[in-house]
């Protein structure tokens, strides 16, 4: 793989290295050579977009796999099933004889689930492929990207009124993770979600050290942190109960908004919070664990005395690097007289660990798939190469996809198999679907039109029509945006 990163006038971005890493993970090549070169050009400045490197790498490799399958007479799903990662799949170059590996991968299961729900075999077998000027084609693509980081802090307060207040430092992108990740904490404490509050918004609200809302890490990183804070709270509740009611802390359980000894004494969380304030010290936030971040320490100090205050760093072990995976399926209908095509159906089948919030997850899986579809169907960035000046400045010129460019009933599904290397089992989902959205469309177009019509993205009416007319690709593959 030889990657040239046209980076505009400023410093290099990480796309080229990332593309090699992701391709080595997603297709598990037994041998792979990768080289990356960044060139500076007299063109407008740019920076990374969703799934940087992963998108480009996968979108380069997918059409090659599709073409290979056609030449070999192998089913497109079958060839990907043979090559896709499984379990603690290795990736990247060996460093001192050791390669990195993923925490887990259940992409084969995602492919199988997706192929079944998309009725892949029926669509492949359907005849005729062409009616009049319209041709149909189906495509499948693998997709993955990073899915989580570790080491951030969780912070919660149990109030004397018996409510649990989660302090959430997550920047709200509208994906609901700012709220959702704390359900992991509520579950640990056995507190109904209606009895929980989430405080969020800005640092004046005494929030803990939190990951940035980017890099598809939040669900993974912050469910771990919420889990850690809740476990810390649980430990304190057990200690308070033992101090007040006798016995050893480990004899107490937490649930149903109470701390209780089986068949014996108990107290409510509200009572425990009052005792925490009486006890002070580590129980109400006047003392703070040494390993939490200084930002968290400041927030704990501000909250001290308001109830049982529990702060904890995510110190859970993790063996491997966290990625999420998607198998994407698409069907297109192309009019060979105009080059215009429509996406008839789309399905994304996700391996993202435990599902935290199905609707929010579905929004992410299809939303990011749509971002990838935009790269296939025409989203572009055009500058005049002689003057190095942008010409596509407005949305009607750079053409992000609209809601009418994707099928009305796009479908998604998720395996809901927990990742074994994180206590809640949930991984991140933002970027992993992007490349699959793009490449499944490109592969479906090749299925309809043949491998010799385009070798590029985006593919527009002009790409198709001018090449059909000539019988060979007519738009240069590296001149992506015209």
């Amino acid at each position: 793989m030889f990657v040239i990163c046209d980076n505009g006038p400023y410093d290099a971005v990480g796309d080229s290295a990332s593309s090699g890493r992701i391709v080595s993970l997603l297709y598990q090549p037994q041998a792979m050579r990768w080289r990356g070169v960044t060139v500076l050009t007299n063109t407008p400045p740019r920076s990374a977009q969703s799934s940087p490197g992963g998108l480009q790498g996968i979108v380069i490799i997918e059409p090659i796999i599709a073409k290979a399958a056609r030449k070999l007479g192998v089913d497109q799903v079958a060839i990907r099933r043979v090559n896709c990662p499984e379990g603690k799949a290795p990736f990247g170059p060996a460093v001192q004889g050791k390669r990195q590996y993923a925490t887990s991968a259940f992409l084969k299961e995602a492919l199988d689930r997706g192929a079944e729900q998309f009725k892949w075999s029926e669509r492949v077998a359907r005849t005729p492929k062409r009616i009049g000027t319209k041709v149909r084609g189906v495509g499948v693509s693998l997709s993955c990207y990073v899915g989580g980081t570790i080491g951030f802090d969780g912070l919660l307060v149990i109030t004397p009124e018996g409510r649990v207040i989660f302090q959430s430092g997550i920047g709200n992108l509208g994906t609901e993770s700012v709220i959702d990740v704390h359900r992991a904490g509520a579950e640990v404490l056995g507190v109904p979600w209606e009895k929980c509050d989430v405080v969020w918004g800005n640092t004046t609200k005494n929030l803990p050290f939190t990951c940035v809302s980017g890099g598809s890490q939040t669900t993974h990183a912050m469910t771990r942190a919420a889990h850690a804070a809740a476990m810390e709270a649980k430990k304190k509740l057990q200690e308070i109960a033992a101090k007040k009611l006798g016995g050893k802390p480990e004899q107490y359980e937490v649930g149903n908004e109470r701390v209780f000894r089986k068949g014996g004494a108990s107290m409510t969380l509200a009572q425990a919070a009052k005792y925490a304030i009486q006890l002070g010290g580590i129980y109400d936030g006047h003392e703070v664990p040494a390993d939490v971040h200084k930002l968290t320490k400041a927030s704990v100090a501000a909250l001290a005395g308001q109830g049982l205050v529990a702060a904890a760093k995510d110190n859970y072990p993790r063996d491997g690097s966290t990625f999420s995976y998607v198998a994407s399926f698409a069907e297109v209908e192309v009019d060979v007289e105009t080059g215009k095509y429509y996406i008839v159906d789309f399905l994304a089948s996700a391996d993202v660990g435990t599902v935290i919030h199905p609707r929010a997850l579905g929004g992410q899986v299809l939303g990011r798939s749509t971002l990838g579809i935009g790269h296939a169907i025409g989203q572009k960035w055009v500058f005049d190469p002689h003057y190095g000046q942008m010409v596509s400045k407005r949305f009607y010129q750079n053409k992000p996809p609209t809601i009418l460019d994707v099928p009305v009933d796009m479908q998604w599904t998720a395996l809901d198999i927990p990742d074994p290397e994180t206590p809640v089992g949930a991984r991140g989902v933002g970027e992993p679907p992007v490349a699959g959205g793009c490449a499944s469309i490109l592969n479906a177009l090749s299925d309809a039109l043949g491998d010799e019509i385009f070798q590029r993205a985006p593919v527009n009416a002009d790409t198709i029509l001018t090449s059909l007319e000539a019988g060979r690709p007519m738009q240069h593959p590296l001149m992506a945006h015209i």
């Binding site: 009616i131 080059g339 596509s392 053409k399 609209t402 002009d462 001018t466």
Partner: protein, 338 residues
């Protein structure tokens, strides 16, 4: 960092409530005045600070410019009638559906609610060099940036280019030409009525305008005669996105057949040249012929004669050929059992 440009330069705003007042203002301010209809074309220019008129005359308060009226021979559409109204009007849908189809394919629902029929036919070209403020021929300079060895000209002209290679972006214009519409203008000399195809001009006549309006002139209405009412219509627009996009190319035809022979026909395309093109040679060639694939193919080939592609728009030649073919012989519906 980025320069914030979405701030308009100051201008004097006039909001007349009658055509007479509007005309008076336009005469008074001459070439300093900018006519504002729905604003979809205007505000890009003004916010980008590429056009800086001293005076803006906003037509939105003039009731007499709005609405669809029936006349003794057809209908009259006020220039400020929105594209949504045009697309949904029962008489237009019943008798002149070609125009309703074209109007419905313009941009997006929000833009059709705001954009007007008069604005749609009078809008400026969307050549991205010209719209970006590059000092090209059309902007009064002495170069066409799109027609250079490296120029980005995927959406530009294949026919009748003359120094400038920009195209007219209107979807309703070819439909109005096919329907033999008449454009009603108010000029200093009084009312003037012109055929739809004569409203539009190419760079050979004036490189700075797409239409015949002079400073002080106003397009007040569009009349559609009953000549083509209820004829067989075909409209197709090819665009990159399924909504909110200008045409790469569009085609409109109105046809009357008898015994499946083409008795009368009018056909126009847009997106091929700086003005929507009425294809008279095609009309003459197919008149009297059977309406079938052979006639369609012959017409398509004839339509693109003389077309000259630029570096990135050669696809427009087969596209125009096929659209003209389809506008005459139709296209087969394709339905798959899912």
């Amino acid at each position: 960092m980025a320069v914030i440009r979405d701030v308009m330069a100051a201008f004097e705003l006039y909001q007349p409530s009658s055509v007479a007042d509007a005309q008076k203002l336009l005469e008074q301010h001459g070439s300093d005045a900018w006519v504002l209809a729905g604003g979809l074309d205007s505000f890009d220019w003004l916010k980008d600070r590429i056009k800086k008129p001293k005076v803006v005359v906003d037509l939105s308060g003039i009731e007499e410019l709005r609405g669809v009226r029936t006349t003794t021979d057809g209908i009259e559409i006020g220039a400020m009638t929105t594209l949504t109204e045009v697309a949904n009007h029962p008489i237009i849908k019943q008798k002149y559906d070609l125009l309703a189809q074209a109007a419905e394919l313009v941009a997006s629902p929000q833009i059709r609610n705001q954009g007007t029929i008069g604005g749609n036919v009078s809008q400026d070209t969307r050549c991205w060099y010209y719209r970006g403020g590059w000092p090209c021929y059309r902007a009064g300079g002495n170069i066409c940036y799109a027609d250079t060895p490296e120029g980005r000209n995927r959406e530009h002209a294949i026919l009748h280019a003359e120094r400038c290679v920009a195209v007219n972006p209107s979807d309703t214009a070819p439909a109005l030409i096919a329907l033999d519409a008449k454009f009603v203008l108010r000029t200093r000399k009084g009312e003037r009525v012109v055929d739809a195809e004569d409203y539009f001009i190419g760079p050979d006549i004036d490189i700075t305008r797409l239409h015949i309006l002079q400073p002080g002139d106003l397009l007040t209405a569009i009349r559609i005669p009953s000549t083509w009412a209820g004829a067989q219509f075909y409209f197709e627009k090819i665009r990159d996105r399924n909504v909110w996009d200008f045409p790469l190319m569009n085609v409109a035809s109105a046809m009357v057949t008898s015994d499946d022979r083409i008795e009368r026909i009018r056909i126009a395309v847009n997106g091929a040249a700086a003005r929507p093109l009425r294809l008279k040679a095609v009309e003459d060639a197919v008149r009297g012929r059977p309406r079938n694939a052979a006639t369609g193919e012959m017409a398509g080939k004839l339509a693109v004669q003389g077309a000259v592609p630029l570096q990135f728009n050669a696809y427009k030649i087969p596209l125009m050929r096929n659209l003209v073919k389809r506008a005459i012989s139709g296209v087969q519906e394709a339905t798959w059992a899912s």
